[in-house]
Each structure stands twice: as C-alpha cells, then as structure tokens.
Amino acid sequence: MTTEASLERILSLRQEGSGEIVSVDEPAVKLVIVSLGDQWFAFHGERIREVLAEAPVFFLPGCPPSLEGVVNVRGDIESVIRLRSILGLPAMADGISSRILLGQASAMRSGVRVDRVEDVVDVLESAIQPLPPTTPDHLQPIMLGVFTFGDHVVHLLDLERIFEDYRAGLR
C-alpha cells in the first residue's frame, strides 16, 4: 500500500513521534560578507553585533596605526581596528566611505573598519572549503576557510583569533 505524502499525513507522523521524517537540510551558517577593495572576506554572523555607519572615531595617541581610535556606541566606548592593516593590505584611499562592524569575541569587543558590507547570507557549511596551500602563512591562523559567493572568492575570518592576536601584539 502506498502512503501519499500530505500535510495531514506529515502532521500525523509528527504527533505520533514517528522517526520516519528525516531532515535533509544541510547545516548552514550565517555570514557577514565584507570587502576590502576587490578582496572579499566574511565573519560569522554571531560575531557581529551591528554595523556602524557614520560614527565619528576619536584618535588616541600612543596607539599603533592599525588601531584607528575609539568610538562612542550609545555610551559605551569601543576600540576600532583597521582590518586592512591586520591583513597586511594597503590603507584605504582618503575620502572613500567605509563601515565599522562591531565585533564580539568571547572575551572582548571591538569595532573593525572595513571598506564595505556586501551582504549577510546563509552559507552551507559544506560550501566552506579548507584554505588553499597558496594562502600566505601569516594569514592562515586567522582564516577558517574559503567559499565562493557569486563571482567572488570569500575568505572566512576568525574574529576571535584576530582579537586575541591583536591584543597579544602579534598583528
């Protein structure tokens, strides 16, 4: 006897607690995709609290060039680090609008200056591939993998490791 699939049938199986229904959805992760010039990167969405648009950044003396300054986020003061500097990319040209991501790692929080926020997407975990062997040695510890999004190759960054390395003076 053939059992037809129907909403009623499915709901009935659910109510019976039957194990016949198996989810075939692949696990996915939410990622925030950003760009620095023509290079694209991503952070896990759970690490990004918000995107700050026009927040003024206050310079502080005695900080390395990669530390842009501090920003006032509704009464809380957060540092702002330049992702370009951390990745060893040249500084952005003056006058180009950019964004600050407010990133949250387990033990610390900071703004991260990027050129643009491209998209927030759900990406299948299986679509994230290991780093190619051509990835520069100094970047491998802070990159979790690589995937394609449209025509772009996107490197997934480890914000936790970036913050830890930065605090330790390694970047």
Binding site: L60, N72, R167
Partner: protein, 129 residues
C-alpha cells in the same frame, strides 16, 4: 557623580589628572624646582614652541611640565570609561588609567602615582619632533 580634573596638553592630545592630586600650577618660567616634561614620563615626543606650565603634585616629586591650555574641568561619571581592552593592550603610553569623552573630545586620564613612579625611577627620554 563627577570628578574635577586638571586638563592639559601633551603632544597635541588632551590629558588630565585628578584635581585632588594637584597642589598648584606655575608658569614654566617661575622657579618651582626641578621639572620633568610629562611627555617624557608617558612616552610622547615633546612639541617645541608651546607655552609650558608646571604642575606641582601633592604626591611630591619633581614638578611636571605640561603644555597649555591648562584648565580645571568637571567630568561626569558617565563621561569616564575604562580603556577598551584592545586599547589597553596596545597603547604604548605609560600611566593612562581611563578615557573621558566630553563634548570637547577625548581626554586621557593619567594615574599620578604611575606617572610619578616613572619620574622617580626610569623616566622615559622624550623623542623630539
């Protein structure tokens, strides 16, 4: 809640110490005994050609020479923040205890004891601009 601070300039940035820790201020050409540039104590270059003042601290030690304008200001507690962790980890200046963000712009609040400790021990030699 609020505190009074003595604000001054060093290397074109604004700094402050708690007013309760400052005995008085003298013009740099008045005789106040030995004076140490604040820039040398915290690790900044001394800016040439600026009007200098001397702060005499209650903690004793040498006078601390700073650039003007020197002003007595009140900071509300809501304007005073601990240094963000990445700033605290990477800032090279000595003795910075907190950061205030009044409408006039950021002010780095110095711990007098740490600053004087530098004067009593191994004060940093200020680079020149």
């Amino acid at each position: 809640m609020e505190i009074e601070v003595v604000c001054f300039t060093a290397s074109r940035a604004r700094f402050a110490v708690e007013a309760s820790q400052v005995r008085t201020m003298l013009a740099a050409d008045q005789d106040g005994g030995d004076a140490v540039p604040i820039e040398g104590l915290i690790g900044l270059p001394v800016s040439a050609g600026e009007l200098r003042h001397r702060l005499i601290l209650k903690a004793g030690g040498p006078c601390v020479e700073v650039s003007g304008p020197v002003s007595l200001e009140t900071l509300a507690a809501a304007q005073i923040h601990p240094l963000p962790r990445l700033v605290a980890a990477r800032m090279s200046l000595a003795g910075v205890r907190a950061l205030a963000l009044p409408p006039s712009g950021p002010v780095l609040i110095l711990d007098v004891n740490m600053v004087i400790g530098g004067a009593a021990g191994t004060a940093r030699m200020p680079p020149t601009v």
